[in-house]
Symmetry: C2
Subunit: 297 residues, 2 copies
């Protein structure tokens, strides 16, 4: 802990300096936090220092002992291993949080592995890019985005307040939700769009005649498949830790697309027009919501 | 026909002044064509004149008699009616073209309805926006985009050359293809992405609890559903005039997504990672192609 004038400068250790960890370091330092960052790769540590994403690049987990807040910014499936590595070095009263895309499994690991002297608050900033890695870190990444706060029942309210404050410091809008609801909703709003984009990319870009057909690709195809360029490991981990809600969402989507296929196959032109008009109205309302939210942040 | 100095100024009549017709008028006038435009709605005609999308707004199809090129810029299913309305006013040697998203059905109507004294060349500029209507007309709409040229066998090569020249004048890249291949390819590159976006929009935005869940929507969901805000009538007409290739593409997509569902359901983490990595590589190659093309246009 360090003091600057009268003000206390909260100390954060970020474990993992990829796109999210790096962006978080940049914005938290600007917000006045003292940020130390851990990464195994020396090139990543140098980059983090050069970009100003950390005050201190640490190579030994013993150095997190002074941090009040520890942020796990690693792939979902790496989380239990990282928690076990951290345990010997967590000071009593330390608050551990994470930024993973799924929450049920993370909260389970936190409950089973972390000592009772440590507070855990799950987090999920709804922000990202297709490009992974600290070289794409962006101080604006979280601005105006929703940051889900998913706290276990036994977590102390002051720990929840500390992590909510951290989310606000990044420019994000905190959103309190329980783990099961979170995972069900993001299966629909985030994981299904990635899977649909990937299946669509598969159905077009892997065609044997694709090289000669590319001139006929539209900007619509580019945008609709954008998510398929996302980080493969991150999405594999998401599927592994949220498979039940995801399969349920895929099934609902397959059902809708199957109904649409029937309307087209049967040349039911009237119902098809009514359907496209109805969905367009819903989509335009969603855009209006996004515009309204952008205007206030 | 009008003469400017020694140069002959080709005369084009655009039937329908929506997004495509209006944008085409803007760019062809700048390229030196004399452009007259037909629209039934007086407000659209005034707007076209005010925007500079036409030299002349016509209300009587008799006024197209002087045009060397007639561009049909109407919804697919309106095409046969418009052709029949035009027939009495087409001068011998006139070249008729269109800008519709499907080509087999259009070429069939042209063959069955147009007199032998008129040349027909099918066209399809691969450009658009979700926003329909002349108020969104954009002189840059066709720049760097592929413009499919689909000529019936009996069409005179000089007519094909005239329409190819017109496409080039808009900044587009002409691409010669036959009608069946065209319709099969755009079913994959354009129609399927719209339908996937629409089914995805249906699976999320029509949920009864959506209003409370919207804060968890990501920019990925926004982009992946963008096409669902497209013009409903245009897409209904596309489905009606291209249903066989579209159903085939939906089936291929359903098969890919079904395989993906199985990998997730069976928690086959290793294959899932390999699959995501493989599709990401294909998608990144497609992006590299788009970048290369953007660099040369």
């Amino acid at each position: 802990m360090t003091e600057t004038n009268q003000e206390h400068r909260a100390s954060v250790a970020i474990i993992g300096l990829g796109l999210i960890g790096g962006s978080l370091g940049l914005v938290l330092r600007e917000a006045g936090y003292h940020v130390s960052g851990f990464a195994r790769n020396p090139a990543v540590r140098s980059r983090a220092l050069a970009l100003g994403a950390v005050d201190l690049a640490i190579t030994d987990l013993r150095d997190i002992v002074d941090a009040e807040i520890i942020v796990l910014a690693v792939p979902v499936l790496a989380t239990p291993v990282v928690i076990q590595d951290l345990i010997p070095h967590l000071a009593p009263g330390a608050i551990v949080t994470d930024v993973a895309s799924t929450k049920r499994q993370i909260l389970l690991w936190a409950k089973n592995l972390l000592p009772g002297s440590v507070q855990f608050v799950g987090g999920h900033p709804m922000a990202g890019k297709e490009q992974a890695g600290i070289e794409h870190a962006d101080i604006q990444l979280f601005r105006g985005r929703t940051w889900c706060i998913v706290a276990p029942d036994k977590t102390h309210p002051s720990a929840v307040a500390t992590i909510t404050q951290l989310a606000i410091a990044t420019g994000a809008l905190p959103f309190t939700i329980d783990a099961l609801s979170h995972d069900a909703v993001v299966a629909a709003t985030s994981h299904l769009p990635f899977l649909a984009a990937t299946a669509l990319a598969d159905a077009t870009f892997t065609r044997s005649d694709w090289a000669s057909l590319q001139p006929l690709a539209s900007s619509g195809l580019r945008d609709t498949t954008r998510l398929a360029s996302g980080d493969a490991l991150m999405h594999r981990d998401i599927c592994a830790s949220n498979h039940v809600p995801i399969v349920k969402q895929i099934d609902q989507f397959l059902e809708r697309l199957g109904e649409l296929r029937t309307l087209i196959h049967e040349q039911n032109d009237e119902q098809l027009l009514a359907y496209f008009e109805r969905i367009k109205t819903h989509r335009d309302l969603f855009l209006a919501y996004l515009d309204a939210r952008a205007a206030i942040t």
